[in-house]
Amino acid sequence: MLLTLSEDQTQILDFIDSLTRPYVGVPMHDTSFALTSDELDRELVEGGFLDVAGMPELGPVTAALIVEKLARLPFAIESAASALVRPLLDPELPRPICLVEEGQLRKPVRFLKAGATVVVVGATGVRSFTASEAQVRDAGDEVLYAYPVAYLNEVPADTRLHELSADELRRAWRVALAAEAAGLLAAALQSVTTYVSERKQFGRPIAAFQALRHRLAEAQVLTNGAYWLAMRAAGTGDAGDAALAALHAQEAAKRVGYDYHQFLGAMGMTLEHPLHLWTYRLKLLTAELGGRGAQAVAAADAIWG
């Protein structure tokens, strides 16, 4: 048991801090719901930050740390599937990596665009294909989620079958989901605590009212747990740990999301305040892999059979 960062891990996270510094401040952005940056994406790829899981001295925990860190940025970056799932399939698969459950084509798919790798998991195993223009349907300009999303029109007949089992793919997907959610939860909490510490009503910061303090403190407890469960799941590679981490993350996201916007008052309803960039990504993550009920059942299966 060793829960401190290795020197390599500390160094990598420091590199990411430097690299992402220009992207930490949120521009008072226009009416777009999601922020993306091709340049940031390119820099992360060139730095090799999304390829560490396969390196023996770094591995999946380092990948999860990177995903967690990047999720704190206001910008949406496709890092989780690339860093934690792709290495198990084929490290050369073109990004972005879009994870889809068989038979769930009605749901929006994060980062989907022509040229993306779509990984489909289901009863027939794990398959992938490169999405064509015709297979991708634009979701329009008013998607509330702070991810770029699109719809998949079809899964083509001609796909590549991977050796990885569906269970193993779902395990890695859960770790990816949990690590990303942990970073989003941390950033959303930070954003809210800053606001409520500055916003005054009745002559004092609203953070000085216990009604908010206790709920934020509980949110901190859940957020901390989400972080550690995600890291443990990445480290052990255990299916039960992965399901518990994803479950806890989805539970926490559901528990805090509405509160956070409520604490910001009407400011929490605007696009001007960046909070939604984290919470509305979290919201879409709560829908992945069937949601928290499905994660809970998967955890029970893994733990108790």
Binding site: A217, M231, A299
Partner: protein, 381 residues
């Protein structure tokens, strides 16, 4: 980062588990329904802790010069997990291991160390903690039990309440007021419980017999040499000891063991097939494991020699959430557990329901998290 136990750590856990399996009586589960502070368990613990001491398992994390094995905080945590999972066969002596011993080492005079450490480390000594008063619970600094220095003796008058183990303890770790200067006016006295003027009354409770008491102090005379630390130093000292105490009981571990046991019983009954019950059980497991990993992050800080700060309140609140979820799960799906159906689960319930109160109310932990972890502006007072 590495989330696996080392071979040595696994062997250490195995050694303690094997010792318990060989040493505890066959009817231990039924017996453990007696609270940790019950006369039966206290009497049992005196012999049992002596055996632990003889086998190097009472204070393995203590320095060798005072009878320990010099093992680290991970081993301390493993030891605590195994003991608590079995319903704490050390009874009230767990306090010696977790905080009285370390606090004695740090703040005791040479005379006090010479007097108490051998008694503690032989597994013979039981303490009680004279903190709460009828009007001083969470607001502990308002306590009023008065200690008046008369020559070289303190005259103590006042009342304590909710005092665990008071009925059978040898000595009380007593907080008294020596001046009106709120936190700076509180002084610790180590008071033998057979001193004239002390009256103990047991309070019947949900958590097992002998667990909570009222203690009255009427002109109790305590030699000045029994003062622990300086006058007015109590707040600093209990701050140190509570940091240990808050992590001291690995409640997440018993909660998880109770959950696993409950699931086993449901499976045996053919009632662990529906998605609803399975999902509820998994939610409990997630909370237990979230608490466990949060606590482990703090144990790691101890291993690294770092000061443990307000994050211990966060980990403790996580533990409260796990206990609460498991207690509720068991009542909802195995109501028979609290009506004679399972000694182990009843034992767990009686230990578990105090999680949000013992060693500081959960709401106080939330206050600490808000102020010192999240750094929110403080509430006006």
């Amino acid at each position: 980062m590495n989330f696996e136990w080392t071979d040595e750590q696994q062997a250490f856990r195995g050694k303690i588990e094997a010792f318990l399996e060989n040493t505890l009586p066959d009817d231990w589960e039924e017996f453990s329904k007696h609270g940790p502070a019950s006369p039966a368990l206290t009497e049992f613990a005196r012999g049992f802790c002596r055996q632990l001491a003889e086998n190097g398992m009472l204070f393995p994390h203590w320095p060798k010069e005072i009878g320990g094995e010099g093992l680290g905080p991970w081993e301390q945590q493993i030891l605590a997990e195994v003991m608590w999972q079995w319903g704490e066969p050390r009874g009230g002596q767990y306090m010696n291991v977790n905080w009285i011993g370390p606090t004695m080492l740090k703040y005791g005079t040479e005379g006090q160390k010479a007097k108490y450490l051998p008694q503690i480390s032989s597994g013979e000594m039981l303490w009680c903690q004279g903190f709460s008063e009828p009007n001083s619970g969470s607001d502990l600094a308002s306590l009023r039990t008065r200690a008046q220095l008369e020559g070289d003796v303190y005259r103590v008058n006042g009342q304590k309440i909710w005092t665990s183990y008071a009925g059978l303890a040898d000595t009380c770790f007593l907080l008294t007021r020596t001046s009106d200067d709120r936190k700076k006016g509180i002084t610790i006295l180590l008071v033998p419980m057979d001193t004239p003027g002390i009256t103990v009354r047991q309070i019947p409770s949900l958590i097992g017999e002998g667990d909570i008491h009222e203690v009255f102090f009427d002109d109790v005379m305590v030699p000045v040499g029994q003062r622990f630390g300086e006058e007015g130093q109590a707040w600093e000292i209990i701050g140190y000891s509570l940091t240990n105490e808050r992590l001291g009981i690995p409640r997440y571990h018993l909660a998880r063991a109770a959950l696993d046991r409950a699931v086993g019983m449901l499976k045996d009954a053919g009632d662990f097939t529906g998605d609803i019950v399975r999902a509820e059980a998994a939610r409990c497991a997630a909370l237990c494991e979230a608490a466990r990993t949060s606590i482990y992050a703090i144990v790691q800080k101890r291993v690294d020699g770092q000061t443990v700060g307000p994050e211990s309140s966060s980990a403790r609140f996580a533990t409260v959430m796990s206990e609460r979820a498991v207690c509720e799960f068991i009542v909802e799906y195995l109501p028979e557990a609290l009506a004679g159906g399972s000694a182990f689960l009843q034992m767990h319930h009686q230990r578990g329901i105090v999680a949000g109160i013992a060693s500081g109310a959960a709401e106080i932990q939330l206050n600490i998290i808000a102020s010192d972890v999240l750094q929110l502006p403080r509430e006006p007072r």
